[in-house]
């Protein structure tokens, strides 16, 4: 039997009267790189935020290894330590150095000893090429560098799955490359990732599964070949056409 890290079942989310997600259904298996694509406002961020419990789903279920994360008595902090998230706006802690940013979760959430935490943090900071900057504060580095630190911070928790919400959308074009480079490496190494992105080349080349969302529903999903080379839906074709023309 395959191990489902995450199963999203008939998920719905409304803000007041505004229906943002409807009947979302998909599965993330260990080792999958799933890319979620879709137009602005289609609910991609809301979906990731529901999965990480930053928003409370209105209906449906999200299962983590078969256990509902919306159950009473479910510990969201423990769950979030296993399901990492990388944000569009980096969200590095401004009061800490790069190294402290990567250590705080280990020491305070996982209860790891300081020396061990430092080793782990350094390992991942080296992986993203940010080891030279360990004593620097976030305000002193560029956007691309911030995002790489944010990825290292998430990786340091050694999560089962890492969620990315448009990790390169707030970056200047020159900096997009360095972040995508890191993400490609992680994908190659077998990290389970769920990535919301507007980088179609990345989605096509790196992902094992692509989900296309439109107006709060999953319009089409499949392998990158299926979605990019033979899209079935008119909406998908239209959406991809716009990217080709750019």
């Amino acid at each position: 039997m395959e191990d489902h890290v995450l199963e999203v079942r008939h998920l719905g989310k409304t803000f007041g009267k505004n229906v943002v997600l409807r009947d979302i259904d998909f599965t993330v298996n260990t080792g999958d790189v799933t890319c979620i694509i879709g137009a602005s406002g289609s609910g991609k961020s809301t979906l990731l935020r529901c999965i990480n419990l930053l928003e409370t789903p209105t209906c449906g279920e999200i299962l983590h290894h078969g256990r509902s994360i919306m159950d009473k008595g479910f510990n969201p902090s423990k769950y979030r330590a296993k399901v990492g998230m990388v944000f569009q706006s980096f969200n590095l802690f401004n009061n800490m150095t790069v190294l402290q940013n990567c250590m705080i979760g280990l020491t305070k959430v996982l209860g790891v000893k300081k020396e061990t935490a430092k080793k782990t943090a350094m390992f991942y900071l080296e992986k993203v090429g940010m080891a030279p900057y360990i004593h620097v504060k976030p305000r002193q580095i560029s956007g691309g560098q911030k995002q790489r630190v944010a990825i290292a911070r998430a990786l340091a928790m050694e999560p089962e799955v890492l969620l990315f919400d448009e990790p390169t959308s707030a970056l200047d074009p020159q900096m997009v490359g360095e972040v995508l480079e890191v993400m490609r490496t992680l994908a190659k190494e077998g990290l389970t990732m769920l990535v919301v992105t507007h980088e179609m080349a990345f989605a096509r080349d790196v992902s094992s599964h692509v989900v296309f969302m439109a107006d709060g529903v999953i319009c089409e999903e499949g392998t990158p070949q299926q979605i990019f080379e033979a899209p079935q839906h008119e909406r998908t074709r239209e959406f991809l056409q716009r990217f080709r023309n750019n």
Binding site: N91, F93, I104, G129, P132, S142, Q145, E178, R204
Partner: protein, 275 residues
């Protein structure tokens, strides 16, 4: 007997220098300690005011917190909305009348100034907490921190840094405003100046000295706090041990104008181009 302005000042300094110094010491002690305690009160109230509650998830906690918040709001409004001099009289004589507590001068002074500063700081801290970008909280939650950990490690240190100027402001106000405590007999700088002035009827000379001493105290404090602020910020520039291998493109090293010269950029643009 000294006749001119200068002679009188000199005479006062020679004979009553210690009185002024002791007065200044009392003023500083009350101002510093009370600002500190006031900050603690302010942080506690501000933290309680910003605890997130969900009525549907935990109605008992929600109701309890609601009640506590109403009481705290009353405290803040009452103490911000009445003069400290009146509060001093009210509390000092009220405690004696109603509860038969005879506060000594020190307890009364610390209590009144602290509780007053706390009322002001509560709103400042609440504002400071709310001004921290929600991304900071979400970043903390995303690595599994609970509300308490998020506050202690992420939000409060940043809020504290942001409200440092307000804390400095409060300290300076407290240095000046301890003079209202003369109404309950606290022998601080104003009281000392007044007694020296009264002994010789040299009001102008005596209060000239008081002006200068008050100014030195507040000016020193404001400079010291600035120093503390820049210390909290840490150094502006930094040296790197080695170079950042991925930063071809991030502006730390020169970005090559010609994409053909940078293989990574080249690969990236070509994959995008042939979509």
């Amino acid at each position: 007997m000294p006749q001119t302005f200068g002679e009188k000042i000199l005479y006062i300094l020679q004979n009553y220098g210690m009185t002024f110094l002791r007065g200044a010491g009392v003023t500083m002690l009350i101002a510093v300690v009370s600002t500190f305690i006031g900050c603690i009160i302010g942080f506690l109230v501000g933290i309680v005011q910003t605890i997130p509650t969900d009525r549907s998830k935990n109605p008992v906690k929600w109701a309890l917190l609601g009640l506590v918040r109403i009481i705290l709001n009353i405290y803040v409004e009452v103490f911000r909305g009445t003069p400290m001099m009146v509060q001093a009289m009210f509390i000092y004589y009220g405690a004696a009348m109603l509860f038969h507590i005879n506060m000594d001068m020190w307890t009364a002074a610390f209590f009144i100034v602290s509780i007053n500063t706390g009322a002001y700081m509560a709103e400042t801290v609440r504002g400071g907490i709310l001004s921290i970008d929600s991304g900071q909280t979400e970043g903390a939650k995303a690595i599994g921190m609970n509300h308490f950990q998020t506050m202690v490690h992420v939000v409060l240190p940043q809020a504290l840094r942001n409200i440092m100027p307000q804390i400095g402001n409060n300290l300076i106000i407290n240095i000046k405003d301890t003079c209202v405590l003369t109404v309950i007999g606290t022998v601080e700088l104003f009281y000392s100046s007044k007694s020296v002035a009264g002994a010789y009827y040299w009001y102008f000379e005596s209060f000239t000295i008081a002006m200068v001493v008050y100014f030195i105290l507040t000016f020193l404090c404001s400079r010291l706090l600035r120093l503390l602020e820049s210390k909290m910020d840490g150094p502006e520039s930094y040296d790197l041990a080695t170079s950042d291998t991925l930063a071809h493109t991030s502006g730390m090293t020169r970005f090559s104008e010609d994409p053909d010269k940078d293989p990574k950029v080249d690969r990236f643009f070509s994959t995008r181009g042939d979509m």
